[in-house]
């Protein structure tokens, strides 16, 4: 492990690494991110090792376990270099064919390629796939090119060149200016100008300052930071060290949620490697700048993603937010000036230094510069991470990149911004993504979670879900949040159970106002947003639940009943056998009937009824006992 004592030594080391490998040498890159591992990538990797050895190709083929490229729906993802042939949904059984056909015979295994849903066309290269083609993957494109455990791979793609440039050619004030000029705004949700935040800390009168990576990605449905931190941990580290230099901090923290064990492991390893190479510690690259990093794990509390709560947790206390009358970049961790930024924000810093603030400023819109990574999930065909320039429309993201709604169902809403955000209906899909645009529609871009919902999603239940999430995650200190959300949850739950009454909506609105105006922190202040936005755009659903005791989406269990269509039922006995409460009566080849008094509305019968019969239906309203026997 050579210690690099100057930018020149770093460059020399980089050239050595680049020249030691043959760029034309075939390489099998397999995604080893949490998502693909969950889909069995570990067995695929093993299968490749075995098969390549078996076929005598070991000397001429590299295997690389990489970071997450974002197309999690279709994992395990395998890319063969140098041709860049991209295979999806790869199983261990497919491996021998891939090795023979592609590595040996330089051919292509058609059935493993991406197939366009409309044209049936097969996309050979990663860049042909429509999911990737319409993205601008400035941050994510490197994930598939490196082994997340290797600092050499990071050097090979130019890693730490931004740090070298900063330490040898730029003064701290110049770095600050570049970041300010770029227009970079925080990617964690608040969208505060990064450069101005840094400047505030630099100018604060104190000798001790801190920089923190907020990797507590708690928004359910969001996993951008996981992919970045797991997949390319050095890029975050590089950004943090540059930030420390610009702000005048000697100590940095990475606060990672413990629900991301692979990210914790990878960032710890990256820090160790950086120290060994002299990129962390004393006199980095001979510049005289000292800086080191400590990793703290979260312990399962969403509220700790809030910056003041995070700092309280770093101090070894329960993560209760503090009032923000004095900003934390002036008085933060241990009451010292502290710059806290999101993982994605830090990841943008080396890019801005290397390619310039002008380059960054040309991407995106006037007020929202650069690219943003979104996690496009829910009822969508191409689920995964999507990186696009700010200003792209929601419609393009959902349809052009996401491939629309599966199963021929109709789009209903897209939920953005996590529990602080709101739902956006079809008529507003031409809104452009950015910091300010979505807020005007009653939602927010937030950290980038984008959850697509279709006609089978009940919007009242969505509001109830988010309030329930927040009653669980609220720190409980202040009355408007703890008590207000408690009552809102009770009322919304009653509405979904058919127990709503006149005046409920008005009570909810009043509780919402109290939370928005009087809560201690952003969790409480933004908690009513999902309710307020669903009320704004889907008021009819609320009124149906309250006045008619009807759930238009046929989701709320107490307001639906299951019914077997006698015209379609073939008497196959499948549902009868699977019913957990034996509520279905019938015999082989005889029409089955659901006994409503016993039925618990679990939906198993609907799940198991073969699609060629499609005999089970959900109906609105209570028991339909009499009608079943016709």
């Amino acid at each position: 492990m050579p210690r690099l004592n100057s930018p020149a030594e770093l460059e020399k080391h980089r050239q050595q690494i680049k020249s030691s490998g043959d760029p034309e040498m075939p390489c099998v890159a397999i995604c080893a991110g949490t998502g693909c591992l969950a889909s069995g990538a570990d067995r695929v990797i093993e299968a490749f090792r075995d098969e390549i050895e078996k076929q005598g190709l070991k000397a001429g083929v590299r295997i690389r376990e990489t970071g997450c490229p974002g197309f999690c729906e279709r994992g395990p993802v395998v890319v063969i270099y140098p041709e860049e042939i991209c295979y999806l949904d790869v199983k261990p059984e497919d491996v021998p064919e891939i090795v023979t056909t592609t590595l040996k015979e330089k051919g292509v295994v058609e059935r493993l390629l991406y197939e366009d849903a409309d044209t049936g066309e097969r996309a050979v290269h990663e860049s042909d796939i429509v999911f990737y083609r319409n993205q601008q993957r400035n941050l994510l494109e490197n994930n598939i090119k490196i082994d997340s455990r290797s600092i050499e791979d990071y050097f090979a793609i130019g890693g730490y060149s931004a740090l070298a440039k900063v330490l040898s050619e730029m003064k701290a004030e110049e770095v600050l200016e570049e970041v300010k000029k770029s227009g970079l705004r925080g990617r964690g949700g608040a969208g505060f100008s990064t450069g101005i935040k840094w400047e505030g800390s630099r100018n604060a009168e104190d000798d001790t300052r801190y920089v923190i990576v907020n990797a507590d990605e708690g928004d359910p449905g969001a996993f951008m930071d996981r992919a970045l931190l797991e997949g390319n941990p050095h890029s975050i580290l590089e950004g943090l060290i540059i930030g420390g230099y610009a702000v005048g901090a000697e100590e940095g923290y990475v606060y990672v949620r413990q629900e991301y064990p692979l990210a914790v492991t990878n960032i710890n390893r990256a820090i160790k490697q950086a120290r060994e190479h002299g990129l962390l510690g004393e006199n980095i690259l001979g510049s005289g700048f000292d800086f080191d990093v400590i990793v703290h794990q979260g312990a399962g509390a969403f509220v700790c993603g809030e910056s003041t709560a995070l700092m309280t947790a770093l101090e070894g206390r329960a993560g209760e937010p503090r009032p923000k009358y004095i900003r934390s970049n002036i008085r933060g961790l241990w009451n010292k000036p502290t710059v806290l930024n999101n993982v994605e924000t830090w990841a943008n810093v080396p890019l801005i230094i290397n390619r310039g603030s002008g380059w960054f400023g040309r991407i995106g819109t006037e007020k929202s510069k650069g690219t943003k990574i979104f996690s496009l999930v829910g009822k969508i065909n191409n689920t995964g991470l999507v990186e696009v320039p700010m200003g792209m429309t929601l419609r393009d993201i959902i349809y052009k990149i996401g491939g629309g709604i599966p199963g021929g169902r109709k789009f209903k809403a897209v939920q953005t911004g996590g529990p602080s955000g709101g739902c956006i209906p079809e008529k507003l899909l031409d809104l452009e993504v950015g910091f300010d645009e979505l807020s005007q529609a009653g939602s927010m871009m937030g950290s980038g979670g984008m959850i697509v919902m279709d006609e089978d999603t009940c919007m009242v239940d969505v509001a109830r879900y988010f309030i329930e999430f927040l009653t669980d995650e609220s720190c409980g200190k202040c009355v408007p949040c703890r008590e207000g959300l408690r009552q809102m949850h009770r009322i919304l739950t009653n509405i979904t159970k058919g127990k709503g009454k006149e005046g409920d909506i008005e009570t909810l609105e009043e509780l919402a106002e109290t939370a928005v105006e009087a809560s201690l922190c952003a969790l409480g202040k933004s908690a009513p947003n999902p309710f307020l936005s669903t009320l704004k755009y889907f008021r009819d659903e609320y009124e149906a639940h309250i006045s008619e005791k009807r759930c238009p989406a046929l989701y709320c269990r107490d307001l639906i009943s299951y019914y077997i269509d006698p015209e379609k039922c073939s008497g196959c006995m499948l549902c009868l056998k699977k019913c957990p409460v034996d509520a279905i009566e019938g015999k082989k080849k005889q029409v089955h009937v659901i006994v409503q008094e016993k039925c618990t509305n679990c939906g198993t019968c609907l799940d198991v009824c073969p699609s060629k019969f499609d005999a089970v239906r959900k109906l609105s309203g209570e028991s339909r006992g009499a009608g079943q026997n016709e």
Binding site: T34, G35, L37, A38, S39, C72, E73, G75, E217, G218, D219, P220, G221, A222, F223, R226, Q258, E259, Y260, P261, H296, Q297, G298, A299, G300, A301, F302, A313, L314, E315, G316, R317, A318, G319, S375, V377, G378, K379, T383, G384, Q415, G418, G449, I451, M453, T457, Y465, F466, F469, D472, E473, C475, K578, P580, C602, G603, T604, D607, V608
Partner: protein
């Protein structure tokens, strides 16, 4: 957990009060729960009041003040998983194991807990057992998956 092991963990963090949560996380990871004796030792050596430790041990979901079962079963209740039917997976698992989130069965085999997002949103609904992730899980699959664990 014996005092010596607790002391070793505390020493690794230089007995710093700011590392309290990290120390408790290590004890939890090794021991699978936080015994009162261990908490007492941490309180003494770090010189932090027991009320703070009590608050932290109950505030954060990662900690358990009671022994847990051999297998930790987590069901993700994040928004993406919720929209894809996580509630029904939870109900099915509750049915099979006989316990609700926060509980451990009498045979100390399973401890069930809900998690607010594991970051595998593209694979929802997600069932995690002992750290291993089972994605795209259907309620009807859960029995088969749970059976494999002793």
């Amino acid at each position: 957990m014996d005092t010596k092991s607790v002391d070793q963990i505390i020493d690794r963090h230089d007995a710093e009060a700011g590392s309290l949560i990290q120390i408790l996380l290590e004890i939890q990871s090794i021991n699978h729960w936080l015994p009162a004796g261990a908490l007492q030792r941490v309180s003494e050596r770090l010189d932090v009041p027991m009320t703070r430790i009590q608050h932290i041990a109950t505030f954060y979901k990662a900690f358990s003040l009671v022994p847990r079962g051999r297998h930790e079963v987590h069901i993700c209740m994040g928004t993406a998983c919720h929209v894809r039917g996580a509630v029904r997976v939870l109900e099915k698992v509750e049915d099979i194991t006989g316990i609700t989130p926060g509980e451990t069965d009498l045979g100390m085999k399973y401890s069930l807990e809900t998690v607010n997002c594991l970051g595998c949103c593209a694979l929802g609904p997600v069932l995690e057992i002992d750290g291993k992730i089972h994605g795209r899980i259907k309620p009807s699959d859960t029995a088969g998956v749970l059976e494999k664990y002793e």
